[in-house]
């Protein structure tokens, strides 16, 4: 691995190991906010080093830095989740947890430097089950007519880039340009997109409730 990336990784490990001690609900919010600031500074530094690696055309180093950036994002999102929970903002807490999970997955896809994250992804999964009620998600299926590659901009099927792989510090994604038809929308317990979720339900008495907080919420359909 590139020497500067190796040095940064040591700094990253020391700082993030220390910041993890604030990833508990009992920790003071004051310290958690400080920890967020520290993580953000580290993230900016990681971004700059990644750009340097890109300018030096060192793809392995650029991908390693992308992976490190994503690990920092995961930690930062987890810290924000704890802060949101203490602020009784359950929706924001869920959103931050999902961000942490996606960032951890991207880190593992981007480079071997994050190959040890299995334990952390399990930890995030455990938090999901313990901290939040069971949720239901929407899972759409659609027919795509035209999509392009996020790396080179060509028609996705025509280039050699693979979705989910890292190329010079960037994860390849498929940009859907034209959807021909939405074929179905299913309700599922586990979805690819955990943000596409049911937010309120009716209880046994027909009263609308926020699925996270169980607070009574207005029936938008009746008010429309």
């Amino acid at each position: 691995m590139n020497e500067r990336v190796k040095q940064f990784y040591i700094e990253f490990s020391e700082i993030t190991n220390d910041l993890q001690k604030f990833c508990f609900i009992t920790r003071s919010q004051e310290f958690q906010l400080e920890a967020c600031n520290t993580a953000q500074e580290l993230q900016e530094k990681a971004g700059k080093l990644k750009q340097q690696m890109i300018s030096e055309d060192d793809e392995d180093a650029a991908n390693a830095m992308l992976s490190i950036e994503e690990m920092i994002t995961a930690l930062l999102s987890e810290l924000r989740m704890w802060i949101a929970l203490k602020g009784e903002d359950a929706d924001a807490a869920w959103s931050q947890l999902v961000s942490a999970q996606y960032a951890a997955r991207t880190a593992m896809q981007a480079h071997m430097v994050a190959s040890h994250l299995d334990g952390y992804t399990n930890h995030l999964h455990d938090l999901e089950r313990v901290l939040f009620p069971p949720l239901a998600f929407f899972s759409p299926s659609y027919i795509i007519e035209h999509s392009t590659c996020s790396i080179c901009g060509q028609e996705y099927g025509e280039c050699d880039h693979i979705v989910g792989k890292a190329y010079m510090g960037q994860i390849c994604t498929r940009v859907i340009e034209k959807v021909k038809e939405i074929t179905e929308v299913s309700l599922v317990d586990e979805a690819a997109n955990k943000r596409a979720r049911i937010t309120k339900i009716t209880d046994d008495n027909g009263i609308w409730r926020d699925i996270m907080t169980w607070q009574v919420v207005p029936n938008d359909a009746a008010n429309a």
């Binding site: 951890a104 991207t106 299926s141 659609y142 027919i143 050699d160 586990e190 997109n193």
Partner: protein
């Protein structure tokens, strides 16, 4: 893990009926290959695009059943399970180069392993493999549901089908 086999239509004849290229070795078949009324109705599983790239990179030649320049549609399901496309394996390929079949399947298996990287829990994959059993174009469909590792066991099932 579940593996089920069933009779399948004559792939070559169906390709001709739909105005498609006739597959001679390996091919991906559209989701609605059996029931589509016209060529324009054909839809592929979304992962075909990526799997084609991976096969191409590994030097595995496939017959693209869509005609050159034909716009094809792809169905994407936003689910955590992976639904893979139907793979057609011709009798001649199975007889002459079974190693290539094993390689093609292992590339699909690796693709799934990479797809699940960083995800928690057992994820299910589904794939249909259509095997041409003889020169009379009689075909069987193998339907696999299980984990990524189990995919490699399909090579043996395919071989046994050919030897029936």
């Amino acid at each position: 893990m579940s593996i089920q086999t069933a009779e399948y239509i004559d792939v070559q004849q169906r390709a001709v009926e739909l105005g498609c290229n006739v597959p001679t070795k390996l091919a991906f078949l559209p989701i609605n290959f059996e029931e589509a009324k016209i060529n324009d109705d054909l839809v592929f599983e979304d992962s075909v695009l990526t799997l084609r790239k991976l096969w191409r990179k590994a030097g595995i030649a496939e017959t693209r059943i869509e005609k050159e320049g034909k716009q094809i549609s792809y169905e994407q399901k936003k689910s955590l399970d992976v639904i893979l496309p139907t793979v057609f394996i011709s009798f001649s390929l199975l007889s002459q180069n079974p190693t290539l079949v094993t390689l093609a399947l292992s590339i699909i298996s690796n693709y799934v392993t990479d797809f699940f990287k960083g995800m928690i829990g057992e994820r299910k994959i589904m794939i249909d493999i259509v095997v041409e059993q003889d020169e009379e174009k009689k075909s069987k469909r193998i339907r696999y549901e299980g984990n990524a590792e189990g995919l490699t066991t399909l090579a043996q099932v395919i071989k046994e089908l050919k030897d029936l």
